[in-house]
């Protein structure tokens, strides 16, 4: 594996007496597709929330591309190059698909209130971004939805657009929270094929929470298993799946 782009060192997050995360250390290599699994309440989403700046950790560190990022706000984490998606796609319903993508690039000239009224100052940038956005949507077969409202899209398309809108920025790492939840088996496989394609063609890194192991295990390079806020097991998919501790955590009491 190549050098890690995202590193989590002895990370802990306590909510009162509840130890949602209790000393987790893991790393995500550049251009990796890494899984994060574990039973409900094992701390997967809490880990994502700490990494993306929603929570300040009780203990430990988060490093991204050689920079310490724990304690930053979510918007600052995004600006560093980490994109996060949610279990239920969180697109903006009153904007079109194109506008959802156009919203993403940071520090746009027309987003400042004093330049916004003067079209000539940002028109060129806006048109360039629009061409880039259309090209991206077409590349992934979504060209016909440029003008569509988000509410007109299927769940799978929403999930794809959530990821695509990060591509218009320099974001390198994508944290996906259950991308296959709520879609049919074949659609889930299509989504993971899409993720692989993004890794191969764009050189992106993925760190994925997923409950549907039958889909996940065919696509990931490496898996971390969380249980009660601690790392239970890690390894290649087949190693993890045959680990008796993992089987016990998932099936046994």
């Amino acid at each position: 594996m190549t050098k890690p782009i995202l590193e989590v060192k002895d990370l802990a997050k306590y909510f009162g007496g509840v130890k949602a995360l209790d000393g987790v250390t893991l790393e995500v290599p550049e251009r990796g597709v890494i899984g994060l699994i574990g039973p409900n309440g094992s701390g997967k989403t809490t880990l994502f929330n700490v990494v993306t700046g929603f929570y300040v950790p009780t203990r430990g560190e988060v490093w991204y591309a050689g920079e310490r990022i724990d304690g930053l706000n979510p918007n600052e984490v995004f600006l560093k190059g980490l994109v996060r998606t949610f279990q239920i796609p969180r697109l903006f319903p009153s904007l079109t698909v194109l506008e959802n993508v156009l919203l993403t690039p940071p520090r746009q000239v027309g987003e400042r209130v004093l330049t916004a009224p003067f079209r000539s100052k940002w028109e060129k940038q806006e048109k360039e971004l629009a061409r880039k956005a259309v090209a991206l949507l077409r590349k992934f077969g979504l060209g016909e939805y440029v003008r569509a409202r988000v509410s007109e899209l299927s769940a799978a398309h929403m999930k794809m657009i959530e990821t695509i809108r990060g591509l218009i920025t320099d974001a390198r790492v994508y944290l996906l929270d259950e991308p296959a939840a709520g879609v049919a088996y074949t659609t889930a496989r299509e989504l993971f094929t899409f993720i692989k394609r993004l890794r191969d063609e764009e050189g992106l890194t993925f760190f994925i929470i997923e409950h549907r192991l039958e889909v996940l295990m065919d696509f990931v390079d490496y898996v971390y298993v969380l249980h009660n806020g601690r790392l239970l097991s890690e390894g290649k998919p087949d190693e993890v799946m045959s680990d008796p501790k993992v089987i016990e955590a998932y099936i046994g009491r």
Binding site: N75, F92, P93, S94, L95, T104, A116, A133, V146
Partner: protein, 355 residues
């Protein structure tokens, strides 16, 4: 036979109120309709502007003419009447200074109020602002230097040096409508820009906007600064038109009246806010003009006005849920780029198909 009705006089009076309230409605629409911040304290910023204009003008006039009396005493009010129209430069200067300070001070108060409220959630913002408005009104009701319950009067009209009061009012309505035009232009421009896109994103889903790298608290504080500043300007325009202010002009009902305008006109549409303001101020003015002539004594125009506004809102929301002028998609040059791309690919596509 209908009693005599001064149509031009009515239009001037309606135009002035329309202008002032449309500025308020546009500012509320920026906050509520576009950014999703429920501002139940709009009247506070309106009041700040009005009281700023009132206190600045009366104290300046008294100081310039070396009158020792306070502005709320009988001597003070007589002195204000005597010296008010004496100097055009002074009157216009005070007017200009009030407008600028009204925008900045009301805006800054709005900006500062976001600091404790934005971190606790949207419902708290509305209630905190509502409470702030009432606190301010009760403070004014008891603060003697600003006239306490009697308020301040004798505010010199910016055109007081013009002898003809009718001409004075006609000039003033043009000034007010000029400010409305600038406000509408500015609001439309920022709505149809990448900034407007960020506002709608914040309204739709704050957390997702945060995840897309947008500094949500700063965006909201900026909008509240602008919205409050606009309300401050409206307050300044009101104070000079009425020539007096008192705390009872700034009760919470004023806020809800502005909400009614935005709901009626269409949430999220600046032009709708103007339409809503036009309708409600029209009902208000026509009742004020007509009722004395009809000799109705059982019921006051105030009650009729509230009933009409209520019925209008119910009817509009039943048949046009988006308001009279519903929200429109954002128009930025991005769509021009998309259209030219679509044209290219259509030509390219058909060419490829034949080959």
């Amino acid at each position: 036979m209908l009693p005599s009705f001064d149509i031009l006089g009515f239009l001037v009076s309606w135009g002035t109120f329309l202008g002032i309230y449309a500025i308020l409605a546009i500012s509320l629409n920026l906050e509520v309709g576009l950014t999703g911040m429920a501002n139940f304290g709009k009247v506070a910023f309106y009041g700040i502007g009005a009281y700023l204009a009132a206190s600045l003008s009366v104290y300046t006039v008294l100081a310039v003419y070396h009158v020792a009396a306070a502005p709320y005493t009988t001597e003070g009010i007589i002195a204000l009447g005597k010296y008010g129209g004496a100097s055009p430069a002074l009157d216009l200067g005070i007017f200009a200074a009030s407008l600028m300070l009204g925008f900045i001070i009301a805006g800054c108060v709005g900006y500062l109020l976001t600091y404790p409220t934005l971190r606790v959630g949207p419902a708290f913002l509305g209630i905190t602002l509502l409470a702030f408005g009432e606190l301010l009104r009760i403070f004014l009701l008891n603060y003697q230097p600003l006239g306490a319950s009697k308020g301040l009067s004798g505010i010199p009209h910016p055109f007081l040096w013009i002898p003809d009061p009718v001409l004075r009012e006609r000039l003033y309505v043009l000034v007010v409508l000029g400010f409305l035009a600038v406000t509408l232009w500015f609001a439309e421009r920022i709505t149809n820009s990448p900034f407007g896109r960020v506002l709608k994103a914040v309204r739709d889903d704050e957390v997702a906007a945060l995840c897309m790298g947008k500094h949500v608290p700063r965006v909201k504080a900026t909008v509240l600064f602008i919205g409050s500043g606009m309300a401050g300007v409206a307050g300044v325009l009101l104070a000079f038109y009425m020539s007096s202010v008192n705390p009872n002009m700034f009760v919470p009902a004023v806020t809800f009246n502005i909400w009614a305008m935005v709901i009626l006109g269409g949430m999220g549409n600046n032009k709708g806010a103007v339409v809503g303001a036009a309708i409600i101020t029209f009902v208000d003015r026509i009742l004020t003009f007509i009722t004395p002539n009809l000799g109705i004594t059982i019921i006051t125009p105030d009650y009729i006005r509230w009933m009409i506004v209520g019925i209008l809102i119910v009817l509009v929301l039943m048949f046009m849920p988006g308001g009279l002028v519903p929200e429109k998609p954002i128009k930025t040059p991005a769509w021009e780029a998309v259209e030219s791309l679509e044209k290219e690919s259509k030509e390219g596509g058909s060419g490829g198909g034949e080959a």
